[in-house]
Structure formats: structure tokens, C-alpha cells
Amino acid sequence: MQLALQILVNGLLLGGLYALLAVGLTLIFGVLRVVNFAHAEFMMLGMFGVYWVWHLTGLDPYLAVLVVTPLVLLFGIVCDRLIIQRTIGAPEVTVVFATLGLSIFLQNAALTLWTADIRSVTTAYSGMVLTPFGLRVSVPMLISFTVAMLAAAGLWLVLTRTLYGKAIQAVAQNREAAALMGIDVRRIYLWTFSVAVAAAGAMGGLIAPLFTVYPRVGISYIVTVFVIVVLGGLGSVPGAVLAALLIGLIEAAAGFLFGAAWAELSYFLIFLAVLIARPQGFFGRRGAEVFAGR
């Protein structure tokens, strides 16, 4: 019982971190109809950003996140202007491989600038553990989880409660109709993309005190996050959050029961099964998988 609870807690904490990454990816897809293969590279930039700010100035990593996230946002604007805007309405091969190219570029830019060394951020509270009801909960993990969930909730509030958010939803539903209603679609694209990758950067900053930092770190996250957003329904924000928690749980449970390799294998098999049986995911609009390529 105690063990099951511990796995539940570990899984939920992990899933909460995935959620912030997944929300951005699913937003970009829902609004721009672009699958952003470079999404986890923005997370990697956030991780390195926090590492360097902490390493050079000694600033607390969680405060460093506040410095780094706006920088990633700016970089997102540049990427949107130079690459993403040009892929809108282009053939599918352009949409898929432009962001894949960006991913390869960013990974190797990091490799060139900062070498393949594995780095980590350590703080006074790195090893601190809370023990409520005999469960072990890592303090930095809990902080990161809480901030990530608050950020995801904030994004959701902006999306549903503000005029700007409603404009974003309108573009996601029908880009031509939204343009006819006087919405500047290109502006919506710009802000959706930059805010989503800034969220990825923030997530990277939040996990910098938890996991090691290296140029290819994105690879181990991006595919997991794809699984999450498809499971939740590409384009659905609440779906992404729920699926992230679910995948976190599956990873923790299967990892404990069968080992890490089986954990990975299990959710890819679930992923394939979902793609085949219910490609719109659990919260996605029906038919999205058919029209998405258009």
C-alpha cells in the first residue's frame, strides 16, 4: 500500500513536469497546425540558461528561471519570424522537416558551444526530502511540480478568460473565419508559438535542479511529449495535462514493476494503439487526424 502510494506520488510529480512541455506543444499544433519537433530543444536551452546563470552568478536556480524564460521567449519570436511563419500553408514535408532541421541545428549548436559534458545544478536544498505519512517527496521536485502546474493553469486561464485567448481559440477552430472577423492571424501565430516555447524554456529551467543538463537532453523528452499530446488529443490543453499525469504514472509504475526499458516500451505501445484505435486522442476533436495534414 505504502509502495503503491509512493509510486503514485512519484508518477504524478513526473507527469506534472511533462505537462508544461506538453501544453505548449499541443497549443502550437492546435493553432498553427505545426508539429514542433524542436520543442524539447527550447527546453534544453532553458536548462542550459538556468545552469549558466546559476554557475556564473550563483543566483538561485528558481530565480534564474525568471531571467531565462523571457530570453527563450525572445528567441522563440526570432525562430517564428525566420522559420515557422514561412511554413504556414507550405507542403507537409516543409512543415515537418523545417522544425526537425531546427532541432538538429539547436542540439548541435549547444554541443559546439558547451561541449557534450554532463552538468548539474546543485543547491542547499538539492537532497532535501519531506516525509509526510512515511512517503518520500523530494523538495526541489515538489517546488518544480507546483510551479509547472501553476504555469499550465495560468496558460489555461489566459486561453479561456481573456479576449486574446479567445482570439487564439478562434484561429484554432477556423483560421479563415477568424481572419474575416478581424483577427490578425499572423500575430496570433507569433504569440502562440513564442509563449509555447517560452513555457518549454521555463519547464527546462524548472527541471535543471533535478536532472542533468547536456545538449541532447531534449531527445529523451520530445518523444514522450509526443505520446502525451496525441493521447490527450492534439490541440487540447486539458487533455495534454491529464495525459501527462497518466504517462508519468505509467512510467513510474511500469519502471518499478518491469524496469526502465519496459516502461518506455509500454507507453510507446499504448501510443501506437491510441493512434490506431482513436487517433483524435481522448479529448481531441473527432476528424482532426484526417484534416490535420491539409
Binding site: F97, V223, F268, A292
Partner: protein
Amino acid sequence: MGNEPANELRVSLLVGLPLAAALVAVPTFVSDVFWLGLGITVLMWAALATAWNISGGLAGGLSLGHAAYFGVGAYTATLLFLRFGISPYFGLLAGAVLAGALGAAIGAITLRLRGPFFVLATLAFGIVVHIAAVNWRDLTRGAAGLLLPFGGGARNMLFAGVAPYWYLGLGLLALTLGVTLAIRRSPLGYYLVALREDEDAARALGVKVVRCKVAASAISAALTACAGAFYATYIQYIDPSSTTQFEISVQIALIAIVGGIGTTFGPALGALVVVPLGEILRASLGGGPALMLYGLMLIVIVLAAPNGVIGLLQRLLSMMRSGARRRATTRRSRGHA
């Protein structure tokens, strides 16, 4: 148009036969192992990109999981030889059959998926196979890899020299190009083009969607596995990171795109551009910066020239033609005046 299948066959015979003769003669003139090795690598990637193009270009399903078939080919041939002493010539066929069956299954289950959903499904499939290759240690020895014995002899496709692999590679490329040409001239080729352009319209006109997509996926997978078996006997050592890794899938697709997807000779041309360029960049700049340029090249190509090198050549050719025509008409009009 330059990509009419009948026209293409004529061009390929006119240009291809002398070119093929020249290619066959290469090992008698080039004895340097580095250059011949580079040539063999180009041939292998050309064959891989051409095989990918059958499902990715002709059928229009952008696969990011082809490393799985490459790995199945490499591991099947290697394991059959190591465990049962079966010659890799037969192992190659067995791998092709196995990968073909896998390709047919993947083709069938991804049938309804379009756009990014198809890409993600093939990506997940590739990763499942990679995880299996890394973790099924009893079979694959995991990351430690499998070593083929040196000097297994011509009977076992394991030659001591490099030159025989040049001929094998040439044969492999000829096979993939031949199959592509055959498909483009067959009803299947026309059905695939119709499906790629407008699936609903093609279905309404009676094109057997299921059969066509499954066939294209199976053929593409089987040919990719042949290249895998070739790689295993040429390098004589395989491990997951050199066969089933995601990066291999990306590289196969990238070469086809740089060359020009959907055309017969584009993907092979892409290998001729990308592989030596990659070697030069790596040698002069080191791995990181070389791959940075790689990524940049991919972005620029898909944004500026989504039809690849072949598309650029065609545009250049038609510009030259229209230029010549314009010159001819001005000359004629001057003559009249």
C-alpha cells in the same frame, strides 16, 4: 514534363547505360580505400533514400521510422549467419521478407492516418524497434553489438577487400531504382500518385486504397532491409546506434528530400550531394558544427526548394530552354525586319 515515367525510362537508358558502365569500372581506377569506401557509403544511402521514396515520395507518407527496417535487415542477416551458419545472401532475403511483412502491417495500421499523425506513428514504431534492439540482449547483445567474423569468404558475402562491396552496392542501388521505375510504369504507380494528390477522389474513382498503401509500404521496407543486410556484411559489426537509431531514419528521409522526393532519381542524387558534403564538413569542422550546418541546410532546402536538387535542376533547365527560345524568336523577328 521531365518526370513522366515513359520519358524517364528513355532518359535513364540514354544516360544510365554509359553511366552504369563507368560506375562498374570505378574499382579498376580507384584503388584508394578511403575514396572507394566513400563511394560505397554513397551507394548505400542512395539505395536507402530511393527505397524510402517508394513509400515517402510516391505514396506520400513521410516515414520517420525506416531505421527499423534497416535494423531488421541487418540483424536478420547477421543472426542467421552467427547462429545457424546461413549465408547472408539468404539472410538478406529472409530480412527482406520479414521487413516486408512488418512494412505491410505498419502500412495497414497507419492507413487512415494523415499528415503529422502518420509521421508520429512511424516515429513511434521506429522507437519501439530501437528499444527492442537495445534491450533484447539474448538476441541482439544490446549495445555491445554483434561482430561478423573477418574473412568469412565470398560464399558468405564477407569479403576481405573493399571492391566487391562496391559491386554489391551498385547492384543494390540498381535494384531499388529498377523497382521504382517498374512501379512508376505500372498501374500501382499511377494509383499511388492519384492517392497522394487526392485520396478521397482516388477512392471515389475505384483505386484500391488499402492494397496500394500496403504494397508501397511493404516494398519500401523490404528494399530498406536489403540495404541493412548489405551494411552488416560491409561494416561487419552492427549495434543499435548504427542501425535502428532515430537519427538513421532522419538521415534517410533528409537525403531523399534534399534530392527531390517523388522523383525517380532525386533521392539517389541527394546521397551524392549529402554524404560527401557531410564527410567534408565533419573532417574540416568537427561533428558538432557539421551537424549544425546539416540542420540549417535542411531548413533552407524545405523552405526555399521543397522539390530538392532535382527541382532546382529542372527549374534551371526550363529557364535555359525558355532563354534559348527567346533568343531564337528575337533573332527571327530581326531577320523579318
